[in-house]
Amino acid sequence: MMRSSKYILIGILFGMTLFKAEAVSWFRIYEMFHFQSFHMYGIIFSSIAMGILIIQWIKRTHMKSTEGLEIVIPDKDKHAPRYIIGGTIFGLGWALAGVCPGPMFIVLGSGYTVLVIFLLSAITGTFVYGLLRKYLPH
């Protein structure tokens, strides 16, 4: 029970943060892609800046996880096409839907039950990718 509740609490903190920072708002994403406010860029840049410090701290101190193993951050593979093509398709969806996968769950929780259809569409998209994977350039 304690094991499960930790992850739920982390999810609650995540949901609260993105909701109160308005990052779950379709209009904030619209504003970001029109370069009309620094707000979303501030969230992303400050998160990465803090993240870089955290990762360097983990690496330099050879920090161990709560399971007692050294924390390893696996390198992503180096082939560019999958990131550029996949990223562009994701970007088309992100701007259109105005929510990415995290905010999708948060908006669903705030009472917009129609996001269940969004979730089913996203699962379908992932499933179709899985089927087509061997034919797509990576």
């Binding site: 609650i12 109160k20 009309q36 955290i54 709560t66 399971e67 701007a95 996968p101 499933f127």
Partner: protein, 197 residues
């Protein structure tokens, strides 16, 4: 009788959070998951859900030990709770509105959407069951969802996995993915939006 300091704390949390609180907080969430031996990436849940529903019969991509990834589903479930709690108990005096800039309100009006400054809702009207069968609603919810699910897995991650986790670990692949996110996003915003709305 609820003690005053608790009411004060609720009022304090209920203010809109500035970017310099939210950004570092997201990095802290990534850290908490790393400390627990996990990797922060929400879109992986779509693959887990596919595998859990038996998609492994159709593609090897879904043949993996998805039970060991149950923690990620719990993070998503927590996000659902977080959205509920925040919208109901921490909405603040103004309610759930988006404090977008005057320039944004003006460009929304040019697109034919009727919004006034200071009254833009946090979540637009086309996120509703009624709007699902209109062109904007169908495009945003069904087509948008499909592209997000397809693209995230093709790129191997979404905003949390690449823009936050990957960029923080200085991964070149994640930089390419983020450039792709913006290329796609700008094309949608400037070329396709005027055709839909």
């Amino acid at each position: 009788m609820v003690p005053q300091f608790i009411l004060d704390a609720i009022a304090f949390i209920s203010q809109p959070w500035p970017w310099w609180v939210a950004g570092p907080m997201i990095a802290v969430i990534m850290f908490l998951l790393l400390k627990l031996g996990k990797e922060f990436g929400i879109s992986a849940n779509f693959r887990i859900m596919c595998a859990a529903e038996g998609a492994g019969d159709y593609a090897d991509f879904f043949k993996f030990d998805w039970q060991s990834q149950g923690w990620n589903l719990l993070v998503a479930l927590g996000a659902v709770f977080g959205g509920y709690m925040t919208s109901h108990y921490f909405a603040g005096a103004e309610g759930n509105i988006a404090h977008v800039s005057a320039a944004t309100v003006e460009s929304l009006q040019q697109l034919g959407l009727n919004y006034q400054e200071g009254q833009v809702p946090l979540i637009p009207e086309f996120y509703s069951w009624e709007a699902l069968f209109t062109l904007p609603g169908f495009m945003v919810i069904v087509v948008g969802g499909f592209l997000v699910g397809f693209g995230a897995r093709y790129a191997g991650g979404c905003t949390s996995g690449h823009a936050i986790s990957g960029m923080s670990a200085l991964q070149l692949g994640s930089l390419y993915a983020v450039l792709g996110f913006f290329a796609g996003g700008l094309f949608m915003t400037y070329v396709i939006f005027p055709l839909i709305f």
